[in-house]
């Protein structure tokens, strides 16, 4: 596996009123060309922060990369100039966001918003960029694309807007696409269509996808590998089938148990739905040298409260950061 993107010991610090908190604490992973890697975890566990860090879009003055490297094709992006980052952003690495309703600029046509990327990165002239924008809209299956290209965002539905976002993100055929909960704000029926679309485009262009989600169903369907995040730390990683079949972290296990089982008939017995009780610790707890999941864990031992679990490797590159991983 040759890594297209390699994140090494990334630490992101966020300035809060209570002081500096490591929202991403010593996270490493690799992304191979053309694969789909899924990030899973509850809200506030650092999935989006990781994505923004890769994009170089951490909020000014609030968040900063305190340590670690983000290597894209061997080039350390944490050391790159703003100018260099801008030439990669939207070109080799692009991103689609959670909120399609507000992610498009209301005062420009969708054609202009797509064409702008092409003019910026592919040095296309106005007419070619506009023509290509219409083709891209057609590629993301917006009906009557040559006409719709002149429409404004408010004339489109949420699902269509997310398609426009996808068209925009894929305009320059990026090597990496980061999708931050791309369907959370959409209807269930539209969700499936968007995932189909992403999957097709990935096959066509060979774009590697980082799929951020909290939906285990999406992970099972879309991803090759997955990383489970908890409180800014990577707690489990591995091939999707391996992890889903045999999770080696109590938190992953809990997440999987949360997914309701489909039953054939209404009177068939279904196992009661479980939850991972408790909540993610507050930001001020994040830096502590202990297992941050311990307070919610039913397998907690004394060592968990004393020492942060190290990553242990298992078959098929499965990694778990739990002192009890062997017994799971």
């Amino acid at each position: 596996m040759t890594a297209l993107l390699r994140v090494e010991n990334l630490r992101i610090e966020l300035a809060t009123r209570l002081g500096v908190a490591p929202v991403i604490d010593d996270v490493s992973f690799e992304l191979a060309a053309g694969e789909t890697l899924s990030f899973v975890g509850e809200s506030g566990c650092g999935k989006s922060m990781t994505a923004l860090a890769i994009m170089g879009l951490l909020p000014d003055k609030v968040g900063r990369i305190a340590a670690g490297k983000i290597l894209f094709n061997g080039e350390d992006m944490t050391q790159a100039s703003d100018e260099r980052l801008r030439s990669l952003r939207g070109n080799d690495i692009s991103m689609i966001f959670q909120e399609p309703m507000t992610s498009l600029n209301p005062v420009f046509t969708i054609g202009e918003q797509i064409a702008e990327v092409l003019r910026r990165h592919k040095q296309m002239d106005k007419r070619d960029a506009w023509k290509r924008a219409a083709e891209l809209l057609d590629a993301v299956r917006i009906p009557d694309a040559t006409h719709r290209v002149g429409h404004y965002p408010h004339q489109l539905s949420g699902g269509q807007r997310q398609r426009v976002m996808i068209a925009m993100a894929l305009a320059c055929e990026p090597k990496v696409l980061i999708a931050d909960e791309p369907t959370t704000a959409l209807d269930v029926t539209i969700q499936a269509q968007i995932f189909d679309l992403l999957e097709d485009l990935r096959k066509d262009m060979g774009t590697a996808i980082i799929m951020i989600t909290h939906d285990m169903g999406v992970v099972a369907e879309m991803a090759d590998r997955m990383i489970v995040m908890y409180a800014g730390r990577k707690i489990e990683q591995g091939d999707v089938h391996t992890v889903l079949d045999h999770p080696r972290h109590p938190y992953t296990k809990g997440l999987i148990a949360c997914v309701p089982h489909l039953v054939a008939t209404l009177d068939e017995h279904r196992p009661p739905l479980t939850e991972v009780s408790g909540i993610v610790p507050g930001l001020q707890e994040f830096g502590k040298n202990e297992c941050l999941f311990a307070s919610r864990c039913d397998r907690v031992v004394e060592r968990c409260l004393r020492e942060r679990p190290t990553e242990q490797r298992f078959d098929k590159d499965q990694v778990s950061a739990c002192w009890q991983a062997n017994t799971l």
Partner: protein, 325 residues
């Protein structure tokens, strides 16, 4: 096509509004004690009741209110605003001789206020802890609290008397020799202080509002999207953010247009600017009813046209406004 329809609709509203203004102005002037006959009699050094009655019937002042009103509206529809006995010329030509000076002052001040206000607002929104940002906050408070005549007089003392950079009063200096260019420069020199005085309040207002709306826009999702596309900071701020943050500023500018016109009256008085404001002041003192009514009518017209332009500007900026009509 929709643009034409929108303009036609606005023009219809404007006509109705002007009619209402006419009726209201005329009624209010009618309610005020004293009329033309009193003033004429006064300037003649007194007159007996026969002469007063003659004057009243000559001016149609003995007719019932409704007849006077209808006659007035009928005349206005024919672009006849009456005759000013005080200036001894038709009100329409009197106003047209003064209107350009006021429009020059009002439009220049409004454009200056918008440009400077927006630039200051954008700059201070981007550098929120910078010196300009604090300056804008203080300046906004100061500019908004200081009355224009006071600002005007202070500027006069500073830049006409202590440091004689600009002329004290008037719009043109008749002694200036030379061609068009020399006279143009002379006009500009006369304009500097009145325009700055009038613009100062509005610079304060617009910069403060623009700063707030720019800060809000810079935090939106679509600005994050624009940044994720690899656009330069300049493109993100001046293309994606500015167009969105302008809407509230333009709306306020439209609402403030009447304030600019009334502010002009004060500024014209301070700087002896030969415009409608000075004319209004003199005609009020002289009880020159037709002229006062004419000026009120034209002020209303200027404000309505200003609002029409605002509406069109908003349509141009925000496509959502376009689809609503």
């Amino acid at each position: 096509m929709t643009l034409l329809r929108a303009v036609a609709q606005r023009l219809l509203y404007a006509a109705l509004l002007l009619l209402a203004v006419l009726v209201l102005n005329f009624s209010m002037m009618h309610l005020a004690p004293g009329d033309v006959a009193d003033t004429i009699a006064q300037s003649m050094g007194g007159a007996d009741s026969d002469v007063m009655a003659r004057i009243r019937s000559d001016y149609g002042l003995d007719q019932p209110f409704s007849v006077q009103l209808m006659r007035y509206i009928g005349n206005v529809l024919q672009f006849d605003l009456g005759y000013s006995f005080f200036y001894n010329q038709p009100v329409t030509s009197l106003i047209f001789s003064k209107l350009p000076a006021t429009l020059l002052l009002v439009v220049t001040a409004q454009l200056l206020a918008l440009t400077v206000g927006v630039l200051l607002g954008v700059y201070s929104a981007r550098k929120q802890d910078g010196i300009v940002s604090h300056f804008v906050t203080v300046f906004a408070l100061f500019g908004y609290s200081a009355p224009v005549f006071w600002t005007g007089i202070l500027l006069l003392i500073a830049f006409s008397l202590k440091i004689p950079l600009f002329p004290v009063a008037g719009m043109i200096d008749v002694t200036v020799e030379g061609g068009f260019f020399a006279r143009f420069i002379d006009l500009l020199r006369h304009m500097v202080l009145p325009v700055i005085t009038l613009a100062s309040i509005f610079i304060a207002l617009y910069s403060r509002l623009c700063r707030a709306s720019m800060m809000e826009v810079l935090g939106t999702d679509y600005i994050r999207t624009a940044r994720s596309k690899g656009l330069s900071t300049r493109e993100v701020v001046y293309k994606h953010a500015l167009k969105n943050s302008l809407s509230p500023v333009i709306t306020l500018a439209g609402l403030q247009f009447s304030a600019v016109v009334s502010g002009a009256v004060l500024v014209e008085a301070v700087f002896s600017w030969p415009g409608l404001g000075s004319l209004a002041l003199q005609s009020i003192i002289a009880r020159d009813t037709p002229t006062i009514l004419g000026i009120l009518f034209f002020s209303a017209l200027v404000v309505i046209v200003g609002n029409l332009i605002t509406d069109l500007a908003l349509r141009w900026i925000d496509p959502r406004v376009r689809s609503r009509t």
